[in-house]
Symmetry: C2
Subunit: 181 residues, 2 copies
Amino acid sequence: MLRNPIKHCKNCGAAVVYRVPDDGDTKDRAICPACHTVHYENPLNVVGTVPYWGDKVLLCKRNIEPRWGKWTLPAGFMELNETVAEGAARETLEESGAQFELEGFFSLLNVARVGQVHMFYRARLLSDTFNPGFETIEARLFAEDEIPWDEIAFRTVKETLERYFADRRAGYFSIHAIDIV
Amino acid sequence: MLRNPIKHCKNCGAAVVYRVPDDGDTKDRAICPACHTVHYENPLNVVGTVPYWGDKVLLCKRNIEPRWGKWTLPAGFMELNETVAEGAARETLEESGAQFELEGFFSLLNVARVGQVHMFYRARLLSDTFNPGFETIEARLFAEDEIPWDEIAFRTVKETLERYFADRRAGYFSIHAIDIV
């Protein structure tokens, strides 16, 4: 996701200027010359799950851009007034309509290039029937040797899936911190 | 941190209206009636470290609001173009001037009420002399029984310190996911 630059003050609508604030900050910020509001831009969290059913994981075929038609783990932007776990559960429900129980925190992936942090929990599916929302063309279970590796929508999803299956083979789940460069 | 509501479009400066977008979204967003930009508001990440020297941890006495004069672990808002670890290291350097080596991911704390996620790494101090920046009145090492528990600036810091000393006594460090309610 590329961000559009801030051009106007969100408080009063005046055109902003970019400069280092006078408060000891060291970075250029969008500053309003009229009402003096300083506008910060910060990373966004993308939160989701690895939903599993026996030795299979649930992937969703995207019905939205970017990466329409590619496969992803259920995930999306974290909202205000929710925890990482609540956001991960909400996105899983919205994108797959699955019934599940959230388990442990699993992966933390930095995508500094686009200012994002992706976080995934493991989720134990309680049923193998799904009811995906409008963002998903199809929700389907895949064993490791069935995963469409060349059709995975995002690097963070691919890296998370690889760790998930490796941990599963090893017999225990770790927490993984990964930098996507 | 309380957020000021978005009143004007950051793209064109027109006054926004709050409504649910027409794209399948379910939440009210600030929408520009002139250029149709949808403005999302998302949680902010606060990143920092638990810097330790033997059985002591480094705390910083805040020289800025909020909580001026209270003690904190070095931490601050994550910036664009950095990883969680890089942000945690940057804040530690800025607020304490310590020399250190970053170790494992330690705590993930949800403060949903204010739309924040706090994340701490452990950091092994390489020296017990510090050179704090303008945001810090004093940087000082504390053993567990010296911690000024009633003068800790933030709940997330108190919870992280409690887990850190408990894990240290247990002889191994886990990763902790905590909801601050």
